[in-house]
Symmetry: D4
Subunit: 254 residues, 8 copies
């Protein structure tokens, strides 16, 4: 973060040439950390205990490591998604407490461990076993953002009794993430059973006319059940993040 | 039909220069009725009481009428699909007993009324009300081909209890036609519940990312339930025809 | 609703052969109203003051009218979407208090007028003037489901100051619906500014390579801002419904 | 399978609080085996000698092995599709009698060897040599499900006499699986020759505008011959399964 | 044609500053007739008796009429494709001998009637009755370009015997135009039977997954039979023109 | 424009609490005119004599008229694109000097008539006659923005000499707009001939596999000639606007 | 080839029960060589010195070798396309005179060396250097089929003078194969310059919106120049084969 | 270059049979250097200090090296794009001063170092860190063509303050290249802020429904901001080249 800019701003507040509300408004937009190849958007996540998030794909190991190092200086939680084992090795050098979720390919550093006592349940459901990596990305994201998370895996519509046998869990959740590939029909079926928001994540699981997830994506966008919204193919992180934003609304103190 | 060709062929059989089996084999391939703009494939349908079928779309009213007239000379049943009211008016001129199914846009002439006592049940299921026209085309097709047909409409997955409340009907059928638009998830759900062949018909019902039935088509092709095969979008006729071919296998006498 | 089935069920409860919890569980799945061409899913919406919703597109005026009539017998609120003027005329015959939103093509019957005092704000934002019909569908849906709704129209990214000049409104909302066609970039920009869930609705507004909304749909699915989920092209109803499900979580009493 | 649940259910039957029909109905929906990462749908296949089927693609070798092990405890036949040599090695450890079809990439365990004396013939036809792997998957699937299966390979339409020279075989079959890539025209030609159901399988064989099987898929969906239904690209298993369901209808005893 | 430019050019030849070969070479590239909204490419068609061709679609009636008038001044044959009845009425005003082919929507003016004694046969084949309009456009084009043309309509692969019964005609042709919609398999089947060049024309005949001719187009591009090349969907003119260029090679005198 | 906001801002400048540079910076972002259904972005175009531009498509006649009226109060030039005759009638009521370009469907009001003496030439080229409407939209746009514009129509690559015969014009231009449908090859050919920026506009002219302009769009995006950039299908306005921005760089005084 | 079948047929001719013409007709359809995994279509190519052709892609090295061995027994020329170095090594074992074209990935065995004195010229043209492999496949195919072939490489439209500088060669050819990737405009430009048939081959050369050759394919299908027909992406063989069929028509003796 | 041709041409000028202007005109079209596999378009780039440009992708290392060697004989600057390290090694052998930009994969040889004092600024902007390779290709291209270039990386719309904090830089530039993947919204936002031409480059950065850059491409083509034109996905070179052509117009001396 550009400390010089902040110093000047605070100087103005101190000398009375800038009033407090205006200073806050300016801080909302001003700060970012400029590494040249990356401008870290440091101000948004500081609020409310959300972690910093780095999308590792498309960045070199070295770039991710440098970004992570700078971010960890803020003593905030850190989440790195789409991280290879190699990235994890580099991050562990910097921060030995970093945890790696191999299936979900996430790296998490928890500097602030929030109590997760209030607020609703985020339930992550998958159609099949092969959808689990995407589901884990969602579950880890929602978890590190301070939510109670449970998993219900391999309950696809080909054997509907597996889903019907878990109705209680579905009814308990505040927000449900449905992760499914192939034809992705699970989102519609779950959406038709509950009266809570459903975030649907199509996965690239399948072959042939699944077109790497397009089939599931279209299924979910056309869901005949109301209350289903959709994120990008394989975007477990996005679903977890949206679910966390939604579930936070259930917290009484906020 | 080219009667001259047949006369010659039969002449050869009579005089012994062609034996009976060979004559039959030749008849399998030889005959068609040449109207210039159309070559009526008259031999296939003669067998086993199947009706003649005319696809009216893309033909002029006059062309359909001429084809129908020629076909009716064979005293066989006749089915015309994708027929407008205007086509029906022209056909009724020729054959006053012709029946029009307005929703399914089919014209049927029943010269041979088969008993439909044995053989399994063909069940036609739809996801919604808007899918009914395609379903009717399927039901009429299977019906005129001599099958017992029942309808179960508007049991889409958004309200799963409507389907679960009709499990007995699903279990009774020999072959099930599932007609659904939007996300088309119904085919997978039905396929997962029964152990009979399911013919799935995607419909162009929907909007936006349904892409005139592509979404439902992909859903059905990627069905995670086994035993589901698919026909073209809005192809109720094709589904009814396939179901009839399948259901005929249940007839003990054949 | 199948009163015979309910009568039997209640009889069992009365005579003690069915306990109360089980009866409730059965009621959750059992009831629907069978009109032949439609099976009205009457039980879901009864709960919590949600209106009955009918999607008019693809149904005949007569079918919609019959469904509306049956639904109104339950004395619940009613919402009809994608309704033409002709449908409205038919519904007004049945229910003179029905209101028509011409832009959004919605018909609303408000039998229960809920107070909308608590709960967060649903903000509906559009990129341009041509997106307003879809936005109205969303706003009416969220409104009849008991939410406080505000509109902020024509603030697309081509003139960013129009959006930046309304930051306070964006920060006030609990959930934001972003309706945009053409390139649909507004969803990402709004998503990057707020820390509340954003429901993005691509519209078919545009021409050429907008491909009837595909461009905006892809933009929104690939949003680089977190917390954005997407519904079908032009699906204002779906966005309004999801927003209502989310916003209900802010109500303290629930 | 959740033996505790079954024990309780049977206890109720024994003590008369649940009658037999209801117990059967409940068993239809209840049982599945929960491995955490997979919920094995054990009840469906037990009936009628169908094998358990595992789709290996997208699962780890270890996951497949664990699922196979659990399934084999039921003493039923087992079929694993899309299985690599590595998967086969792991399964052979558990079950030395497992057979591997290298071309079709299937693993079969035959604990129950059914007589295949009655019922019709399932004929598997390919357009070219490169389509054989998909055809083998179909043939193995139909075979292990208790069907008489024959193969007719490399009879594509570029040399029509190869097909016409095998008309007798085509006429003998009860159901025909047509496997073809490139332009996939074989399905239409076969469909036009026979009056039995045809299951068409597009393959990803081809290049350029074959688009990994889309060309063949569209060809088959648009077949001008009636009685052709289609499964997903390269989905030999699905075709074999559908064919088996259809062919079972020919068995007199059922 | 820009007579001033030609006058100057010829002047140079006369005065010896330009030699004859060079003048010819310049004439090859120079001349066109500038109407402002259209630059008529007058030089190409003058050679060898080819007609002038105007593509009427996308032009106003008035524009087509003006172009036709100018072209007819050259006393050459004229072909107008994609012409409505309205265009025909305007052209007949200018040239009473103009002939209209209603099915093919072509207008032909034959000022030079070539003998068509030598050269091979161009055979135009269709899969169905609905493909005839496109076939007529091809037949008229090849005909006015001085070729012997025959038609063989409605011999699609659903009834293969109709095609096999016309093998002699197929073997007689020098070049075959195959016009087919739906799955377009006819091109492959014909291509596999003959050893002459086949020009395949996909048509937009069909529905659903025919995608207005894409299915047939892909089928034809992926033809497993060698010697098949393809033109645009519904492009009967292009096929007729290509066939004429090919067939001209058979003329002994050229 | 929100005069209250501007009054306050100017008040601050007057009283010295806001310095002039800051006031200018704020004015850059602040002003827009709020009509409820539209927020007119009035500040951008005021600069440098650019006209106000309204995209009429998707707006009601009444909305366009209201926006036009408000804009004309600023005494600036006005351009309305995609305007029907009906819109023109409404605008002419408000401003009798409005000019309508029927082909290009543009309405222009010229309150400030700029001299167009310096600056380079914008040349608008089309492949065919049917591309002229899009070209006119481009030409009118560049013209009203104060550029010297010339047209060169119907010089597509099928008759290359028409283009080669106009090389001098191509070499004279500062920026060239190439408008072409069908295969759109003209952009590459022109781009290969000149060393000035080329703006390519694909049009929806064509049929079949032109897919409403996708073919031309892809051609232009893949141009093997350097210096070609592309705008949306049929987006004559966008090309004219970009060309004007580019051509302004040639003006010596700016 | 099924010698038993041929023996019987010839027996019938000998004993007079089958006349000669009929025997010839039967031979046209009957023979193929059955290797189990492949049915070699041996009769077509025997005629007129055309080589046997094997498409190696998708077949194992062993399968190709076995097919090649059987084919070479007929003492005919042999062409193998899409052949890797590994395939070549296997074939050279069987036939040491086999020649490998590394760029075109073709293997040729010339047992019959035809004189190539009469007949027209097949000219193979490419847009760029990267298109050469596909062009070589075309050139080798046309060459081994007995045609005079010349190459003109890297004359794409970005530098039009390279093409214009070779007009004489273009005018000399009887049939021209245009091979081009990226935007594929060369086919239209060449098609507009000559009055001979043009076979266009789109290649997968390019990136981004070339979509592996789709852009070039669409360009070529939409060619505004008449006389251009198209084969599959990268299908050099198909173009060479079609060109050979066309060019054979120029031979006076046939 | 064909020196014989040039020699003859100059001889004619010398002897007075060709005047100077005509000679220049001929030279514009005549020269290219024929390497057989490549025809080097040497004349265009000679003018005005533009470098020779070689697109390395799809060419062998040896081909690139040979082309580079021949081009360097002209003592002009050289730019090779899409160059691997291996290509660089080969070029460095020939020309030790060659510089390699690893990220942008460009090789540059600067024989003429132009002063870059006048002319406007080309600003290269990226949405994210992963877009930098494409941006570097653009920056190097514009730079070697003699432009002042600055970079502004990682200012995507998810954190809009990063862009707004650099408004001064945006306002300073004469032409802006916007490089962005995922949803590519940055182009619209930048386009809405400035009144200079914007060249948008979609990148293949992203996953799922980004479809390798299609999402960003469509976003940019549909930009609601005027003045944005687009090049192919990942085409940094094309953007840099177009920007250079545009920026050259700002040079007072030209």
């Amino acid at each position: 973060m550009d400390t010089q800019a902040i110093k000047e701003l605070l100087g103005k507040v101190k000398e009375g040439s800038l009033d407090v509300d205006e200073a806050i408004a300016q801080l909302r937009w001003l700060p970012y950390d400029d590494l040249g190849f990356a401008k870290i958007d440091s101000h948004r996540n500081i609020r409310r205990g959300f972690p910093e998030v780095v999308f590792a794909q498309g960045k070199t190991v070295d770039q991710v490591a440098k970004i992570a190092q700078r971010m960890l200086e803020s003593n905030n939680n850190l989440l790195i998604t789409r991280a290879s084992q190699e990235v994890y090795d580099a991050v562990r050098e910097i921060e030995p407490t970093a945890e790696y979720n191999e299936l979900g390919r996430t790296i998490a550093v928890r500097k602030i461990r929030r109590e997760v006592t209030d607020g609703g349940l985020v339930l992550v459901v998958t159609g099949g076993t092969a959808d689990i990596p995407v589901a884990e990305e969602a579950a880890v994201t929602a978890g590190i953002m301070g939510n109670r998370v449970e998993r219900l895996y391999d309950v696809g519509v080909a054997g509907l009794h597996r889903l019907l046998g878990n109705k209680d869990k579905l009814f308990e959740a505040s927000v449900i993430i449905v992760v499914a590939g192939m034809e992705g029909a699970l989102a519609s079926v779950v959406g038709g059973m509950v009266d809570k928001p459903v975030i649907a994540v199509p996965t690239s699981v399948g072959y042939g006319a699944s077109f790497n997830g397009i089939a599931a994506l279209l299924t979910m966008l056309n869901s005949c059940a109301s209350g289903v919204s959709v994120v990008n193919i394989d975007n477990g992180f996005g679903a977890g993040y949206s679910a966390a934003l939604i579930n936070r609304l259930t917290r009484k103190e906020e």
